[in-house]
């Protein structure tokens, strides 16, 4: 189970968000850009240190004290694929698998994420959509207990987004990781989670299923965000 309470001062307001997700569950953080969603995710991942609060994952305390990044069983994907540019696709994925030379697991990742054609290519020689798939393979290679997604579908066309969402859902079911995902597009979040936490100006304004959010949005801004274009 992920149990987190993140308090982090920012210029305009203080982010103060508490959340709980059952083991293997999925939660969306939803709100406008700049609401503090990414700050929460970044604090859970360990890239930022909260001013106060706690982050626990099952029996493991991530904060406080702040657990070093390399000891966190956390996968983190953002809109930047952040592939290592001096390595090939294979080396990028293998990077998360130190010690496992010819692992069937690696083959499975390669085949199921359709990376065969670019497996030996340099990481800078592939397209944006391919790079996101490689980043996903690299993240999953370590079999993380917790996966944090910070708008990893930004800038991709619908076809690519649909493919990535299908992949992600399949791996979520197969590996059973806990998932927290941030985006400002409800259509994407609704495919990944049943439940969402709505964040405005660093505070949780509503917590519920997508149906409940649509039926009784807590704020005018949320109503606007969920309304069709």
């Amino acid at each position: 189970m992920l149990d987190a309470h993140v308090v982090r001062r920012r210029d305009a307001f203080t982010v103060d968000v508490a959340l709980q997700v059952e083991r293997g569950g999925a939660l969306a953080l939803f709100g406008v850009s700049g609401a503090g969603k990414s700050t929460v995710l970044s604090c859970i991942a360990g890239l930022e240190t909260p001013d106060r609060g706690h982050v626990r994952l099952d029996e493991l305390t991530l904060f406080p004290p702040s657990l070093p990044l390399h000891r966190r069983p956390v996968g983190y994907l953002t809109q930047e694929a952040n592939l290592f540019p001096h390595l090939t696709v294979e080396q990028n994925v293998r990077f998360a698998l130190d010690g496992e030379r010819d692992s069937p697991w690696l083959d499975e990742l390669r085949d199921r994420l359709r990376l065969h054609a670019i497996w030996k290519a340099g990481a800078t020689r592939i397209s944006g959509g391919q790079a996101r798939r490689v980043a996903m393979a690299r993240m999953l290679a370590r079999r993380p207990q917790l996966v944090l997604l910070d708008e990893p579908f930004t800038g991709l066309d619908r076809h690519l987004v649909r493919g990535l969402l299908d992949d992600l859902l399949a791996w979520h079911a197969a590996l059973g990781f806990t998932l927290v995902v941030v985006d400002h597009q409800p259509a994407i979040l609704e495919r990944l989670t049943r439940r969402a936490l709505v964040v405005e100006d660093g505070r949780v304004v509503q917590d519920g299923t997508w149906e409940a959010l649509r039926a009784t949005p807590a704020t005018p801004l949320l109503r606007d965000l969920l309304a069709p274009l």
Binding site: L69, E80, F84, H86, A96, A141
Partner: protein, 257 residues
């Protein structure tokens, strides 16, 4: 077809480059037969050996100390870095002769630290130790500033991602930070190398003996004139130029790739 303005620009840069490289034409100047007689060759060869071996040792020290310092500076808060870099700049901006005098006093027997070193048998004037220490002082600032820029060029997000993939800090440095910064580090090292091996002013004060190439060139000029300088000058250029030239060319090629 190349435009007229492009042609004029190219001609201008060509003239500038010719003027810049013009001093090399002196290698073909009619200075008389080059003097490589035994009394010139013996000390000159010794100076080459001294410069290469001791400068290489100085570079090992520069890299060993300068790399972690540069990594810290590249990763600390910008406000903190300004102060550290101000101190580094001060060391770089000291005129070499002034630095040599300051070093010889600070490490000389009149100063407590120099006295302590002398007490344990470490000679700080006209020794290999003095030569290496002086080279480290004159070059480490250049290396650190260059290395800071190289490390700053490595995105922090990549290091964080590597750590989140289970790699401890040293492993992240070895497998991500260093490979991505290595060309910048090579350029920084090559500048430090040129600065160290070419140093005359400071070394003249602290380590006239054992004479390195720079000091020996000066001695040859004073004692035997230009014909005795030219052979050692060619060796001097061959020892100093290729490494930084290659590092810069490689860095440029990588930047274009």
């Amino acid at each position: 077809m190349i435009g007229r303005s492009r042609l004029i620009g190219r001609a201008g840069v060509g003239a500038f480059t010719l003027a810049l490289l013009y001093p090399l034409a002196a290698l073909f100047a009619p200075v008389g037969g080059w003097d490589w007689s035994p009394q010139v060759a013996g000390p000159s060869i010794d100076s080459v050996r001294t410069s290469i071996v001791l400068s290489a040792l100085a570079m090992v020290i520069v890299v060993a100390i300068g790399t972690p310092v540069a990594l810290y500076l590249a990763r600390c808060a910008r406000r903190e870095r300004v102060w550290w870099q101000a101190a580094l700049l001060a060391s770089i901006l000291l005129p070499p002769l002034a630095l040599g005098i300051l070093l010889s006093i600070a490490f000389g027997p009149a100063a407590p630290f120099g006295a302590a070193l002398a007490h344990i048998g470490v000679g700080t004037t006209n020794t290999a130790t003095a030569f290496v220490a002086t080279q480290v002082y004159v070059s480490i600032g250049y290396y650190v500033l260059g290395a800071v820029a190289a490390f700053e060029g490595v995105p922090r997000a990549l290091e964080a991602q590597a750590a989140l993939l289970g790699h401890a800090p040293f492993d992240v440095f070895r497998r991500i930070t260093f490979p991505l910064a290595r060309l910048g580090l090579a350029v920084a090292l090559s500048i430090a190398w040129v600065r160290a091996i070419g140093e005359l002013g400071a070394v003249l004060i602290t380590a006239y003996h054992p004479s390195g190439m720079a000091v020996q060139l000066w001695v040859n000029l004073q004692s035997f004139g230009l014909p005795a300088v030219m052979p050692l000058l060619v060796i001097f250029l061959a020892a100093t130029l290729p490494l930084p030239w290659l590092a810069h060319v490689l860095a440029q090629r990588r930047a274009r790739a």
